[in-house]
C-alpha cells in the first residue's frame, strides 16, 4: 500500500497503529494533543477576535517547524549515521518525505515573506490542524515498524479537517 492508496478495509488497522503509538508514548502524545487543543480552544473561545485568525505569521511558524522536522527526518535514514548529506538514501520513503517537507517549508516561508497568497490559501496552509497533521505523521515515521499509507493519512487527516471546518464555520457565523 502506498501513500496514494486508500482502502476502507484498512481503517481498523490504521486506527490500531495510531492507538498503539499513543499507548507506547502516552505522555508525549498527550502533550502533543494538549498543545494543539490549547491553540484550538483559544481560536474557538476568541473566534470574534481578529487576533485569533490565521495570518502570514502562522505560515512562518508552520514553515519553521516543518523545516526542523524535515531536518531531523533526514538523519533517520542516512547511511553514514554521522549526519552527512552526501550519504543520504534518496530511495528511502523517510528521506523522500523529508525532502518534500523541506520544499513545502521553503514555499511557506517564501509565501509568508512575500504575502502573495490570497487569504483563503493562507488559512489552508497556516492552520494549526495542518501543522499537527505534519508533525504527527513525522513522529509516526520515526517508528521503524509503521508504514505510512493513504488510509493512515486519511484516518489522521479527516478528523483534523473536520475540526478545521468547524472552526472556520464558527468564524463565518460570528
Amino acid at each position: 500500500m502506498s501513500i496514494f492508496q486508500f482502502s476502507f478495509s484498512e481503517i481498523p488497522e490504521a486506527v490500531s497503529i495510531i492507538i498503539g503509538f499513543i499507548n507506547d508514548n502516552l505522555i508525549l502524545s498527550g502533550v502533543l494533543f494538549i498543545s494543539y487543543t490549547l491553540f484550538y480552544l483559544y481560536g474557538i473561545i476568541n473566534n470574534k477576535s481578529v487576533d485569533s485568525d490565521v495570518y502570514e505569521i502562522d505560515l512562518l511558524g508552520n514553515g519553521v517547524s516543518s523545516i526542523m522536522v524535515a531536518f531531523l527526518l533526514v538523519g533517520l535514514d542516512e547511511s553514514s549515521k554521522g549526519f552527512s548529506f552526501a550519504s543520504l538514501d534518496i530511495s528511502s520513503p523517510t528521506t523522500k518525505a523529508a525532502i518534500f517537507l523541506a520544499g513545502y517549508a521553503i514555499l511557506l516561508l517564501l509565501f509568508a515573506f512575500t504575502k502573495m497568497l490570497p487569504k483563503f490559501l493562507v488559512v489552508v496552509f497556516g492552520n494549526s490542524e495542518l501543522d499537527l497533521f505534519i508533525n504527527f505523521i513525522a513522529v509516526l515515521m520515526i517508528e521503524p515498524g509503521i508504514a505510512i499509507t493513504g488510509t493512515l493519512l486519511a484516518v489522521i487527516g479527516v478528523p483534523l479537517l473536520i475540526l478545521l471546518i468547524i472552526e472556520r464555520l464558527r468564524r463565518l457565523a460570528r
Binding site: 508514548n25 505522555i27 508525549l28 502524545s29 502533550v31 502533543l32 494538549i34 498543545s35 494543539y36 490549547l38 491553540f39 483559544y42 476568541n46 487576533d51 485569533s52 502570514e56 505569521i57 512562518l60 511558524g61 519553521v64 517547524s65 526542523m68 522536522v69 531536518f71 531531523l72 538523519g75 533517520l76 542516512e78 549515521k81 554521522g82 549526519f83 508533525n135 513525522a138 513522529v139 520515526i142 517508528e143 521503524p144
Partner: protein, 117 residues
Amino acid sequence: MKKYHISVFTTNLLAIVLAILFVKGYKAREIPITNVFFIMLVILAVFMLLSIFILKPQGRIKSIFPKKNLLILNVGISLAFSLIFLKQIGLIGFLFVMVFSFLLFEIEHIIYEGVGR
C-alpha cells in the same frame, strides 16, 4: 492572554515532543545524536547573534527573549520533560531537547516580535 502567548507556549510543547521522540528514534537506530545537537547549537548561536546584533539594533524587534514569566515557564517545562525522559534519551539527548525547544520557541517569539505581535 494573546495568541502570541499561546503560540510561544504550544511551540515549546511541540518542540519538546518532537525532540524527545526523535532522540529516541535516533537511539533505536544507533545513530549518535551528537552531530545533530551541535548543528542545532550552531543554528541557535547564529540566530541569537542575528537577533542581538542586527534585529534589535535596527529596531525590528523590541525584546530578544519572551517576558520573564513565559521564559521561565517554557524552560521549566522543557527541563521537567527532559528529566522525566533522561534515562531514555541520555545526557546529550537531554541537552538536545533543551536546545531544540529553546530554539523553536525563541524563533516563534522573534517572528511575533517582528510583526508587532
